[in-house]
Symmetry: C2
Subunit: 337 residues, 2 copies
């Protein structure tokens, strides 16, 4: 038999009002009564009914995330971790996470349902696209949200994203410190945001070191293994080949590794190699690849949740940004030229 506010207040000889306010930390109840109330609540195992509270306050105490149905690219693998991180942090604020997935073509309808049905107080927009209709939609509806990934819009909004530029820099700085001067970059097609950003970091780091990037050492490759393989072959055929290489994604990275291996490369000797995101653990290797590692899914989830809480607290959107800091994890594939 569940105990409710009424029973609790009667057992205390107080009004529901007072008990409610005591429990919710209002100042117009004496510290002594608050103690009594809290104690009695615990003793009786009182748990406020969230539905009633929500009806009274108008808030849903839940955050929504709608996930594009059937999206199964790389990022997916970490989805579970991100969700873990989000829920863990949200729980501290007594917020639930509502997950929906929907086919991309009816995605906006799902958003509408969630919002109009007042099922959530805010949304997390996963897998943002460069020009994202969902974000435009939420902005015109003035509904609170946090974007997981940046997008282009003039109106300020809260977002979390990875600091791809910094990752590019980190790799270059490491290689420069080892003494490399001719550093190559294999990057994914530039319509992809991250490729753009990592490349920018790569170039900036070179320039900061007083070097001017050699255009011939910067090659674009399709986002697949073959792409990485062929790009490496091309680089190695040059009259004046690079002494170090950064591959800006781990798909092409696998191909690049293969190409190097096919050419008799041994880790640590000859060409230094850094792969963004590292080589997936499914690929059996006897050595470790030096890599730029993204923050874990859990920490990303924490950041997202924090931003959601801030948005709901009404903090100015223009300040609600967070970049996930990549780190360099040193392996066996780089060394002095």
């Amino acid at each position: 038999m569940k105990v409710n506010l009424k029973m609790l207040s009667e057992s205390l000889g107080l009004s529901q009002t007072t008990v409610s306010r005591a429990l919710n930390g209002y100042s117009d109840v004496s510290e002594a009564t608050r103690q009594r109330v809290v104690e009695a609540a615990r003793a009786l195992g009182y748990q406020p009914n969230p539905q009633a509270r929500q009806l009274a306050t108008g808030r849903a105490n839940a955050i929504g995330i709608v996930y594009p149905f059937g999206a199964s690219d790389i990022g997916d693998i970490r989805f579970g971790e991100v969700v873990s991180g989000i829920t863990e942090r949200l729980a501290e604020h007594n917020l639930d996470l509502l997950i929906h997935s929907s086919r991309p073509d009816v995605e906006l309808d799902t958003y509408r349902r969630l919002i109009d049905g007042r099922r959530v107080d805010a949304l997390i927009v996963a897998r943002t696209r460069a020009d994202d209709p969902r974000i435009r939609f939420l902005q015109t509806r003035q509904f609170p949200f946090v974007a997981y990934g940046r997008t282009v819009t003039s109106t300020p909004y809260a977002w979390f994203d990875f600091d791809n530029e910094k990752g590019g820099r980190l790799a270059v700085e490491r290689l420069l410190a080892l003494g490399h001067r001719r550093i190559a970059l294999i990057h994914a097609p530039l319509e992809l945001n991250f490729a753009q950003q990592r490349r920018a970091g790569f170039m900036a780091a070179l320039r900061d070191a007083g070097l001017k990037p050699d255009a011939k050492l910067i090659v674009e490759a399709p986002l697949n293994r073959i792409g990485g393989y062929e790009a490496v072959v091309r680089l190695m055929k040059m009259k004046n080949p690079p002494s170090a290489l950064l591959v800006d994604n781990n798909v092409a990275g696998v191909g690049a590794l293969r190409a190097l291996g096919d050419n008799g490369w041994k880790p640590g000797e000859g060409m230094s190699l850094i792969v963004y995101d590292g080589i997936p653990s499914e690929i059996p290797l006897t050595y470790r690849v030096t890599a730029i590692a993204q923050p874990t899914g859990e920490s990303s989830g924490h950041s997202l949740a924090d931003l959601v809480v801030d948005v709901l607290a009404g903090k100015p959107l223009a300040e609600l940004h967070k970049l996930g800091e990549p780190v360099l994890t040193v392996g066996d594939t780089d060394g002095q030229p």
Copy 2:
């Protein structure tokens, strides 16, 4: 300005009662009025407030799933898909999916919070363990749930699981049909449920064909690559080696493949190979491995959601089971002996 029941009913000149019952398909409202009501509701964009409805009915219209925090083994990869499948199907019944994750040590507390807080009407228990305290807990509390994976308990409960036994059979039947008689099995440690079950299917299929399994051809190997590698080496060293091999998991499968390759094996020649779950796509191969494939995450999600709905509908638990059917996907690694 959101329109509510009151406004809707006033605009129609009907009582809230009638409008409510019309919308909810009760029989004591004439078809004509129902039409009018439905139409007006759509015209005004009426969306019932779920919190109010929940408060009145006592149901939460949401299903919970709590995911062990930081669980990051193989199954994880499909987590997103499973969630997609669940939410898609639940949406058809107007149910939301609430996700929580929690450290294993406080998992039961999370369950308690969800239940006592009446946040969900039922739970999905993910990653069931052989003897699962969560299931015991839910059973004693008499709270509706569906287990994702079987467990041991005498009380009936609803579950979804993969038909591992059938998978084992499928592989053997295929090999038998190809003409193989000496078929080996490399299986994971038997404390793992799936190993137990796949092995049972393997043996049963042999017996059904009138063959008696050769104990020397059935080897247990640790659930890692080395395990698979060494098991194959052992099998190949035998005086009378098998002509075909089933590896009951894809982790050992990768090692097995490696071992075969190191011994000059070519796919389709010599030893036939079938790997349960196939070889992860991250491993670059020029040929396709014959495999036993599990149902997709989405279809598993659908099954889980269907079971939840049935449980809530009060169907007898003893009948609410569903086995995900594995299929054999033919590749290039098996052939006649």
